[in-house]
């Protein structure tokens, strides 16, 4: 478990990094390294050159804009974002989902932007970006551009980043008024990749009726799946039948697959169960926030 030889650079400015990347299209960008380094050590991937962006101070920011959203740079660790009180307040799904990302030791090193561009549909954060309609900013020597989550995830472990582009920042919008969120997942062991994970966002109208419901799914599709479940709650009330319909509807959008830990049927059952639990929890959260907003 020793990697093959590779060259290594550690630029201290983004400009340097982009120039280096432009000059070495075969290179890989190293951020937290929690996926890349094991792949290299097990020689499952061969990387001739590493560009380590951990020394680039300008990528370490967390900017929280109330009413707007949270922006975080490419070397922000999961643990930093997870523990950021203001970020949690503005978009509580970040904290809720990050609690399920691996273990503390991995969260201390792994970066949220890195997890997003790794584009593993078993990862929590690609789904969170999709569910919230967030964006990723990428840069190259040609300039910067913003990619929506929808455009970003084009296949398993595959993004629409072009050669020479480095992900520099992600943005997730703030939770609007009268909205609530919830996240839950089931893994074989605490901190493992989820067998299935679900995040949900529920919006209420001023009278407390359900206005819209969306759920995002982990580990049951090839790319992060988001399903609009609003139609399952036609009279605006959260009912058992509505939740059951939501679970059934969600499944028509998912492609749970079997592996050594779970059968297709079991993953589907988890998706069903978690849909009902998480949508209900997000609905409760929305009600509580709406009440708090009224009294505040």
């Amino acid at each position: 478990m020793k990697p093959a030889a590779f060259t290594y650079q550690r630029p201290t400015t983004l400009t340097q990094a982009l120039a280096a990347y432009a000059a070495a299209p075969e290179a890989k960008v190293l951020a937290g390294g929690q996926s890349l380094i094991p792949l290299m050590s097990m020689r499952l991937t061969s990387v001739p050159e590493l560009i380590d962006i951990n020394g680039i101070e300008e990528l370490s920011h967390i900017h929280v804009e109330r009413g707007q959203g949270v922006r975080f740079g490419a070397i922000v660790r999961h643990a930093q974002l997870h523990g950021h009180a203001e970020a949690r307040e503005v978009q509580p799904l970040l904290h809720a989902a990050l609690s399920h990302v691996a273990h503390a030791t991995i969260r201390n090193r792994g970066t949220t932007v890195g997890s997003i561009v790794h584009a593993d549909a078993s990862g929590e954060m690609p789904m969170v970006l999709s569910l919230l309609g967030g964006t990723l900013t990428v840069a190259s020597v040609e300039g910067r551009r913003e990619i929506t989550a929808e455009e970003l995830f084009i296949g398993p472990l595959e993004t629409s980043l072009q050669a020479g582009e480095i992900a520099v920042e992600a943005f997730v919008p703030a939770l609007p008024a009268r909205h609530g969120v919830a996240f839950d997942e089931i893994a074989r062991r605490h901190g493992d990749y989820a067998l299935c994970g679900v995040g949900a966002i529920v919006g209420l109208d001023p009278d407390g009726a359900i206005e819209h419901v969306r759920a995002g799914y982990v580990s049951v599709s090839e790319t992060p799946a988001v399903v609009d479940l609003t139609g399952c709650f036609p009279d605006g009330r959260l009912t058992e039948q509505g939740l059951k319909d939501a679970a059934d509807l969600a499944l028509t959008h998912l492609e749970p697959e079997a592996d050594i830990h779970a059968t297709t049927e079991y993953r589907a059952q988890l998706a069903r169960t978690l849909t009902t639990r998480v949508v209900a929890a997000a609905h409760t959260d929305a009600g509580a926030r709406a009440n708090a907003e009224v009294t505040a």
Partner: protein
């Protein structure tokens, strides 16, 4: 007065060093050594057509590459079959490097020695091997079907067929008022010590000596193997075990190919060489265990008493049989547990598959045997509508029955299966109290009303521990008064330094802090067997106690002379020998050590007292004819047969009605390992064993696909439980039924915690779900599938 330390929860003295990163493991020895990497077979079954190493030789930093063709003399012979048995008619072992054929993914084909492991791995990647593929045999079903053969000269893939019996089981079953049959399976798992295998060797060309440091459970075994295979005299080879980061059985197998190839290369290259196994290698080239299929027939009376039991099982021994039939023999015999069976027959087939070898893993065949018997007890209770604990009690061997012989069965040590002592009814009384068994039915009924599923399981076991042939102890009192103890078996973190020092402190009358223990060093203890079968405390503990008694006897004899007192009037307290009732008349053990060694040369103030013009009767030899210089004692302990520990585990689980997740609500252990040396260490062993048992029952398995590729050869997919998956608390109650077989009354405690896990979890889940659980381990996905299967025919069982 010195406080007695036997039975005290003395804190482990080794922990400070081990948990603060100061342990010194094989990989830490000789940092500049050349490093070895191994080319392992990527195929489960293939003939090797050719191996081309030309591309390796050009790699800078590469010193050597070896294939089978480079092996000479005994190295070119197959590895030893360590424990031959007459029933093992078709035993096979692999070569240190594959000759012509590979039989599992991971089998060593070639090794490269380079400046470092990075370069060695680069070079391994350049070796070209051409294979002719052979059909792989994976799993017990395929082995039994024998449509393909692992070894072409082993018909039916059958390495051994063995049967043992007493009474007439078939007749007893046929005439019994009630009969049942069960079919059960257990899957493979493995030891997974934190530190994998590792070996360092240095050949001293000037002195003609081989020094080997290896992560093993038997330094003497490795020493004999290295000497034999490399054509060296035993006296030329030293084997030392540094700190060993866990063994759990896998490191009793020896010699591993690398344990021979590393010293071979070190001698050939005249440079120190090191091999450090990585985790993937551990998964695919170290040993596995557990995989069995079992068929049970049982006949019993109206009270659930077993009248006859007949068991046939199929044991997956992997591609080779270096450790003989030990695992299935233990299953065959330990299956009987604490029960008195009038008629019993057991037979097994040990079968080859194209997978990693199967050798003892903590529990070593007992978990499977206990699973067979305890599931049978549960089935009997269900059939009769009886309480599960009552059925067990009705079958218990009673305290007055000891020593109790199970017919003429032979145990794994080649000795009759005779239990030395125990008190199973008392153990059950304690277990029922610990888990509040009588209150559970109400709890379960109330939980059911809330839509919850909870269940309780209970399982008993008896564990033959402390198997022979022998171990030794050496106790040396230095002139400083410090006591140096050596025993030959090895330590993998069990707390031997602490436990053995407790024994010596008590036996000798010295301070605990003054005792230092060395294990697993053939320079200090050339005669030894090894650490396995929960034998260290029993074997070395006893030997060390006997050795300490010898040292004490000599100290008292010398002190009686010096103090002009009678030996019977002396006592030793905190390292001082004194006349009872006359505290002024005393002499330190260190001073006696000086006097015990007549000197020509003084080297300090204290030693002047022992020089030739200071002491001695000029008319007698300085050392008497029947005496030896020095204050030391040594002895060996060799038991007539094994001593039998026992225990009962109970677990309460809750299963999620929707997701089928399995949660542990309570885990309780009653444990009898005879006289406790250190209850804290025993409880630590129980905790670790239970955690490992949770892994074996609910998480871990070796997921081979049909081509023989192990799909989960990493800790990402091999689900060893984290601390978050094991019970937060484990309630433990001890029972101490001393063994009459050894001087301290000790029984082994190392493996117990893991033994009943599969049985007790299967029972609890079955109780929660209301349908039979016959295959372990079980995952939520599998439990969900069972629910779907049983949903059409579901009926809730009410037996408890």
């Amino acid at each position: 007065m010195t406080t007695k330390l036997m039975g005290e929860p003395v804190a482990r003295v080794e922990d400070d060093r081990l948990v603060t990163g100061k342990g010194r493991y094989a990989d830490d020895i000789m940092p500049g050594a050349l490093e070895m990497a191994v080319l392992r077979s990527p195929h489960a079954h293939a003939r090797i057509r050719s191996i081309d190493v030309d591309a390796v030789l050009d790699v800078p930093g590469v010193h050597a590459v070896y294939t089978y063709d480079d092996l000479e003399g005994p190295m070119a012979e197959p590895l030893p079959l360590l424990i031959p048995h007459p029933a093992l008619t078709h035993g096979r072992t692999q070569y240190a490097l594959a000759k012509d054929e590979v039989n599992y993914v991971g089998e060593a084909i070639a090794v490269v020695v380079a400046d470092n492991r990075y370069l060695a791995e680069d070079a391994v990647g350049r070796i070209e091997v051409e294979y002719d593929f052979l059909p792989p045999v994976v799993g017990i079903d395929a082995a039994r079907a024998a449509e393909n053969l692992v070894h072409e000269d082993v018909p039916g893939n059958v390495a051994a067929v063995m049967e043992q019996s007493f009474g007439d089981a078939e007749a007893a079953i046929a005439s019994a008022p009630h009969r049942l049959s069960l079919d059960l399976t257990v899957e493979r798992s493995a030891c997974m010590p934190m530190e994998g295998r590792g070996t360092v060797a240095r050949w001293d060309e000037d002195l003609n000596r081989m020094s080997v440091w290896t992560s093993t459970q038997t330094s003497t075994g490795v020493r004999a193997a290295v000497a034999t295979k490399l054509g060296l005299d035993l006296g030329q080879v030293d084997v030392v075990t540094p700190d060993v980061g866990g063994g759990f059985g896998v490191k009793i197998v020896h010699p591993w190919p690398e344990e021979l190839l590393v010293p071979m290369a070190a001698k050939a290259l005249r440079r120190p060489v090191k091999f450090t196994e990585d985790r993937r290698e551990h998964f695919i080239s170290s040993a596995h265990e557990r995989g069995q299929q079992q068929h049970i027939e049982v006949g019993f009376d109206d009270e659930g008493r077993v009248l006859g039991m007949s068991v046939k099982f199929w044991h997956d021994n992997g591609a080779y049989t270096p450790y003989g039939l030990i695992v299935p023999i233990i299953t065959s015999t330990q299956l009987l547990g604490p029960y008195k069976l009038p008629n019993y027959r057991v037979s097994f087939e040990s079968l080859y598959t194209n997978t990693v070898i199967v050798t003892p893993y903590r529990g070593a065949g007992r978990p499977q045997g206990v699973y067979a018997m305890e599931r049978t007890m549960d089935a009997i209770a269900a059939e009769l509508g009886m309480d599960r604990t009552e059925v067990r009690e009705n079958n218990f061997i009673q305290p007055e029955d000891f020593p109790y012989a199970h017919g003429e069965l032979t145990f794994q040590d080649g000795r009759p299966l005779v239990y030395d002592s125990g008190n199973y009814p008392e153990m059950m009384r304690k277990a029922r109290a610990l888990v509040d068994w009588p209150a559970f039915e109400k709890f379960r009924d109330e939980a059911r009303k809330e839509g919850r599923k909870v269940g309780i399981g209970i399982a008993c076991y008896v564990e033959g521990t402390g198997v022979g042939p022998y171990e030794g102890g050496h106790v040396h009192i230095e002139t400083s008064g410090k006591v140096k103890v050596s025993t030959g078996l090895t330590t993998q973190g069990q707390g031997h330094q602490t436990a053995f020092a407790q024994i010596v402190a008590d036996e000798l009358g010295v301070r605990f802090e003054d005792v230092e223990v060395v294990t697993g060093d053939t320079r200090r203890s050339p005669y030894s067997v090894g650490t396995f079968a929960s034998r260290a405390a029993v074997m070395s503990g006893s030997a060390i106690a006997l050795a300490a008694r010898n040292a004490r006897a000599k100290a008292l004899r010398l002190a009686a002379d010096a103090l002009e007192a009678d030996v019977d009037d002396l006592e030793i307290v905190d390292g001082i020998v004194r006349v009872k009732g006359a505290p002024d008349s005393q002499i330190a053990l260190g001073t006696l050590a000086v006097l015990s060694n007549p000197l020509r040369y003084a080297f300090d103030e204290a030693s002047r007292a022992a020089t030739q013009f200071a002491v001695g009767d000029p008319s007698k030899p300085p050392v008497a004819e029947d005496d030896e210089p020095g204050l030391e004692g040594k002895d060996y302990y060799s038991p007539p047969r094994s001593t039998f520990a026992s225990g009962i585990h109970a677990v309460i689980v809750e299963t999620d009605p929707e997701t089928a997740e399995i949660r542990i609500l309570k885990y309780a252990v009653v444990h009898d390992c005879g006289t406790l040396i250190n209850p804290r260490i025993v409880e630590g062993q129980v905790h670790g064993g239970v955690a490992q048992g949770v892994g074996g029952a609910l998480y871990e398995r070796m997921a081979y696909d049909e081509t023989g590729q192990l799909q989960n050869a990493s800790f990402m997919d091999f689900l060893m439980p984290y601390v978050t998956e094991v019970p937060e608390t484990i309630d433990i109650d001890h029972l101490e039924t001393p063994s009459p077989l050894n001087p301290l009354g000790i029984k082994g405690a190392g493996e117990a915690g893991v033994i009943p896990s599969a049985a007790v979890f299967a029972a609890a889940i079955e109780d929660a779900e209301g349908f039979p659980i016959t295959a372990m381990p079980i995952s939520p996905s599998e439990l969900y599938a069972l629910r779907l299967t049983h949903s059409t025919t579901s009926h809730e069982r009410t037996a408890s």
